[in-house]
Amino acid sequence: MNLNILLAIPLITLAALFAVSDAGKVRWISFAGMSVQLVASVVLLFAYLAGRHAGVTTPLLFESSMMWYASWNIQYHIGVDGIAVAMILLTSVVMVSGILISWNIQNQVKEFYILLILLGLGAYGFFIANDLFTMFLFFELAVIPKYLLIAIWGSGKKEFNAMKLVLILMFGSSLVLAGIIGTYYQAGLAGNATWDLMTIGSLNIPLHAQQILFPLLFVGFAVLSAMFPFHTWAPDGHSSAPTAGSMFLAGISMKLGGYGCLRVVTYMFPEAARFYSPYIVLLATIGIFYGAFVTLRQKDIKMMNAYSSVSHCGFVLLGIGMLTQTAMTGAVMQMVSHGVMTALFFGVIGMVYERTHTRMSNELGGLLKVMPFIGTCFILAGLTSLGLPGLSGFVAEMTVFVGAWQVNEFFYRAATVMACMSIVVTAVYILRASGFAMMGPVKNPAYNALHDATWNEKLAAVILIVPIILIGSAPFWLSDMVNSSMGNWMTKIITSAH
């Protein structure tokens, strides 16, 4: 399979969007384009599995490479492993769903969809690229349009929050940029001036250089995945973002960060990862635990989910920081699981807000009775979030826990226990929110007139629920795919043992 298809489809969709101006057509073209992209991603999954099944053992599949700036040796090198395939699937699912959710946007429809698809394009490019410079370009493409998305279609203190979000994320980007240039320089010192991820991974970059480059790149990416204390863009950004913006932000963009930390930084600098592992685990645990307690106080259900994302993304960082194969597999599964779960949650919260014009859980109440479909989705998203078996969150978290527990040192054990404890706190805030907002008597008589989800909302929710259940009840397909990709470079981490 030619991976360029994954970029071609969004590009064609964008071109088509530029050509039309009627809002209805814009919606349908975007929906059609992203649906085709979803189909292509599913085809990619099967092609990948078939390739592995046929015994191809190269780290990457469907590789192709093209020099595009020879004097700096920048290549357009693309190729995917199991982790990238999982991320691409996640992106496609969230994109289709986000487009359906935004069906009712009235102002500047065309621009909205163009920006949304542009964000998606950045994410796809980032996930298929294997050249640091090319990756960085796509990475930026997935950050900057967010400013407009929030500042134009957002709500509340939208300009301020959009500015804050973009500034913090750009801070991360600047670290990443410094990091990759440094890496290029070190690769040159090690005898091969290249931006290529796989090649750099096989070079022997000295530990002291790794120790400088690792934090730059890791923190740069982790900012995007809301690592404590750089997480404050998340709650405010989400509270102002339009629904699809939040879905993209938490469902895909936070995953760019996690993917970068895991598959780019840790891959290139395993010895430094070992060195910094306690710090990563410490920050991840603070994020998980502190995030959970902050979430407990939130009355705004969107803020609640934003903070809960901080807590859940902590599991990704925790899994990475533990540096065992199982924990890192768990980190990837958590990225996928959290991506779909949080997109569903934000989607449902958007549906509620559109109808009731409030997100305060104490002003809502009894919505399950009035809007059974939306209410059920809300509770389902909540149950996924609190890690109910049969839904995706459980397998991801458990994989992280099992992997984390394999590190038999007191500090790591304590961190794992803290992380386990957070799932109780999660249960508390999820059940409180659904108890307040969905159950109980109908709080406001005006709510009785509200209508349940429309066809596009129903479809959007179902598209997200399907992977939640597929991963939750039959996790082996995802887990095995990720796990076997992880095996390729675990040897290097294991040899850099404590």
Binding site: T232, L296, R297, Q298, G390, I423, F476
Partner: protein
């Protein structure tokens, strides 16, 4: 014999859950009920067939019952341990194992679930969300059955969580009633908290045994010569070995599900759910999961005295504690809930006093025996109570009295169950309780004394309940003055129908079948089927111990008769003499208030609120400040770009100077 049909016991309820849940709305209303009941009926028939084949035909090899693995499929496999002994990674398998306790549990769960389905079919018939109710019941049955046949400890944990959520959904079935929502939340969160212990226990056990498979864990960790066990007992934390930690933590999980003190607080509140649910989940099946868990890992508990004693003392204390509270409550379902807690305490401490193998393992057999008989009579009590509640539209004892004339069949069946739980021969409860008390007598006299005292209290509060419902007329006259308020959703019959009498046919059938179980289950020679090591033995009958137990029961009944058969003021006088103790018991010894203090005051106000404040005012402020400083600096820097060549030359020389200084000193 091929047991492959066992898998249908899981598939049928799952399919029913999906069908009635997704399509129930568009089906004729009764159809979802019929589907659910029918599929559970088939499951019960299958379970009986399996039990027959297992216990009488193929299960026994020599004189030992073997474990048959019917089905096993890897569900999730993890990478190998970085430095493992066994060399392979952990894997979560979905499997079905048949051994004496899982086969017994299959029978209990399918039978009670079938009865409850049958009963609910008419009990819930006016409920608009009839299909959802049956769908949830099927989900619960599926989860509970998956739990009992689990071959892998993580599989058990998965189904353990699933029964938890089914319980949550069913307690909160009347979700527009705030008290039901609160109760369902409480049940879920308390058991979730306990499950944290279970989870960490699993992680510990799996780390030291490098397996998640029950059989492998037990094999590797119960043999004193095994290197796995030696590492596990050598590793320690805070003075206890890793094994002790693991087993105590797992027991916490079990104690949460089984409502042992101090994790019992969710059970009385869980009575907000529809009564058939209370009978199925909160009396007969889910709440005994903790006992089942300890029984499943019994060879390990038997090896670690600290954990084993914890099981014993927690069980015994809970038994007595709950019995005392039950004597003072006035809500019929809450009395039964505390009674359940107390009886589960019996099962727990029976495991706690038990040894391993042969006669030594009498406690283990007795515990499982009591689990079995308790399921019958407690389900009967709850369903009977449901019929009464259905009739008078109230849960409160003060709304009842003299019901024996209106509901003669229910009266007799209820009496039968009360006698059984009080340990009166020849009913089932007598045999199982007597066995437990014998085991306790042989092992620990203090526990035995607690057991006898609890037996007397049990008889007392059960007959207090019985007389107040079916005899004592004083309450009824009160009722005429203060008509009891209808429970929010109990608008099933209009008041005019109150004199209608007995429950409907399908309800009565369920009650009668459970009545047969209650009367006959005691005659099963349990030690011939279930024992701690799978080998059979004959349990001896000790006449003097039996007489003491019966004496305790009869005393309790007599006192209750004196106090409550006819209206009188004896109980009030007695209550007055008890003073503060009674008040404390009525308020359930203020355990709920302690929890409330911890959650509201400490977690919310002392941890969560400051965390939220810090996030807003310190972490976020710092970020904004960093932004503002950058803006300030940039304003300053802007002026440097003056456009005057002279300025630039100076900057250039300062730069050159700085670089040369650096170059010189490094």
């Amino acid at each position: 014999m091929n047991f492959s049909m066992t898998i249908w016991i899981l598939i049928l309820p799952l399919a029913t859950f999906l069908i009635t849940g997704l399509l129930g709305k568009s089906m004729p209303k009764q159809l979802s009920g019929i589907l659910g009941t029918l599929s559970m009926g088939i499951c019960a028939a299958l379970a009986f067939n399996i039990a027959y084949n297992y216990f009488f035909l193929v299960g026994k090899v020599g004189d030992t019952f073997q474990t048959i693995t019917v089905f096993k499929q890897t569900w999730l496999s993890f990478a190998p341990f970085p430095s493992g002994r066994a060399g392979d990674g952990l894997s979560i398998d979905m499997g079905i194992i048949l051994d004496p306790i899982s086969v017994m549990m299959l029978v209990v769960v399918t039978l009670v679930s079938f009865m409850v389905h049958l009963y609910s079919y008419s009990y819930m018939k006016d409920e608009p969300r009839f299909h959802i109710f049956f769908s949830f019941l099927s989900l619960f049955s599926f989860s509970m059955l998956g739990l009992v046949v689990a071959s892998n400890i993580f599989q058990m944990y998965i189904f353990w969580e699933l029964v938890g959520v089914s319980s949550f959904l069913l307690i909160g079935f009347y979700y527009d009633k705030p008290s039901a929502v609160a109760a369902s939340k409480k049940a879920f969160i308390v058991t979730r908290f306990a499950d944290l212990g279970f989870l960490i226990g699993i992680l510990l056990l799996s780390f030291y045994s490098e397996s998640l498979d029950f059989a492998t864990i037990i094999e590797r960790l119960s043999n004193p010569d095994s290197a796995f066990l030696q590492t596990a007992t050598a590793a320690g934390f805070l003075g206890a070995s890793a094994m002790t930690w693991a087993l105590c933590l797992i027991f916490i999980g079990g104690a949460g599900k089984s409502a042992m003190f101090p994790l019992h607080i969710w059970l009385p509140d869980a009575m907000e759910g529809p009564t058939p649910v209370s009978a199925l989940i909160h009396a007969a099946t889910m709440v005994v999961a903790g006992v089942f868990l300890v029984a499943r890992l019994f060879p390990l508990y038997n090896l670690i005295p600290a954990a084993h004693h914890m099981v014993m003392y927690v069980g015994a204390f809970s038994a007595l504690f709950a019995a005392v509270i039950a004597c003072t409550q006035t809500d019929i379902k809450r009395i039964l809930a505390f009674s359940t807690m107390s009886q589960i305490g019996y099962m727990m401490f029976a495991l706690g006093v038990s040894g391993y193998g042969g006669e030594e393992g009498l406690g283990y057999t007795a515990s499982m025996f009591h689990l079995f008989t308790h399921a019958m009579f407690k389900a009967l009590l709850f369903l009977g109570a449901g019929a009464v509640i259905h009739h008078v539209h109230s849960n409160d004892l003060s709304a009842m009295g003299g019901m024996r004339k209106q509901m003669p069949v229910t009266n007799i069946l209820f009496l039968l169950a009360c006698l059984a739980i009080s340990g009166i021969p020849p009913l089932s409860g007598f045999f199982s309780k007597e066995e437990i008390l014998t085991a306790a007598f042989n092992s620990n006299k203090l526990i035995y004394a607690v057991g006898i005292l609890t037996a007397a209290l049990t008889a007392f509060y059960m007959f207090r309940l019985y007389y107040s419902i079916f005899w004592n007329k004083s309450h009824q006259s009160e009722k005429a003055v203060h008509p009891s308020p209808l429970p929010a959703r109990m608008n099933i019959h209009s008041d005019g129908e109150r004199g209608r009498g007995e429950a409907s046919a399908s309800m009565l059938i369920a009650l009668c079948l459970l009545g047969v179980g209650t009367a006959a289950a005691g005659f099963i020679p349990f030690s011939h089927y279930i024992s701690s090591d799978g080998k059979l033995f004959d349990s001896e009958f000790h006449l003097n111990l039996a007489l003491i137990a019966i004496g305790a029961g009869v005393t309790g009944i007599l006192i209750a008769t004196l106090f409550y058969l006819k209206p009188n003021n004896r109980s009030d006088k007695f209550a007055a003499s008890m003073g503060g103790l009674l008040q404390a018991a009525r308020n359930k010894f203020y355990v709920d208030e302690v929890y409330e203090f911890i959650t509201k005051k400490i977690i919310f106000n002392l941890i969560s609120a400051p965390a939220a404040w810090i996030d807003k005012n310190i972490v976020d402020r710092t970020m904004i400040l960093a932004g503002e400083i950058t803006a300030l600096v940039s304003d300053e820097v802007k002026t440097m770009q003056s456009g005057k060549v002279y300025d630039y030359v100076i900057y250039f020389f300062i730069g050159v100077l700085a670089i040369s200084v650096l170059a010189v000193f490094y």
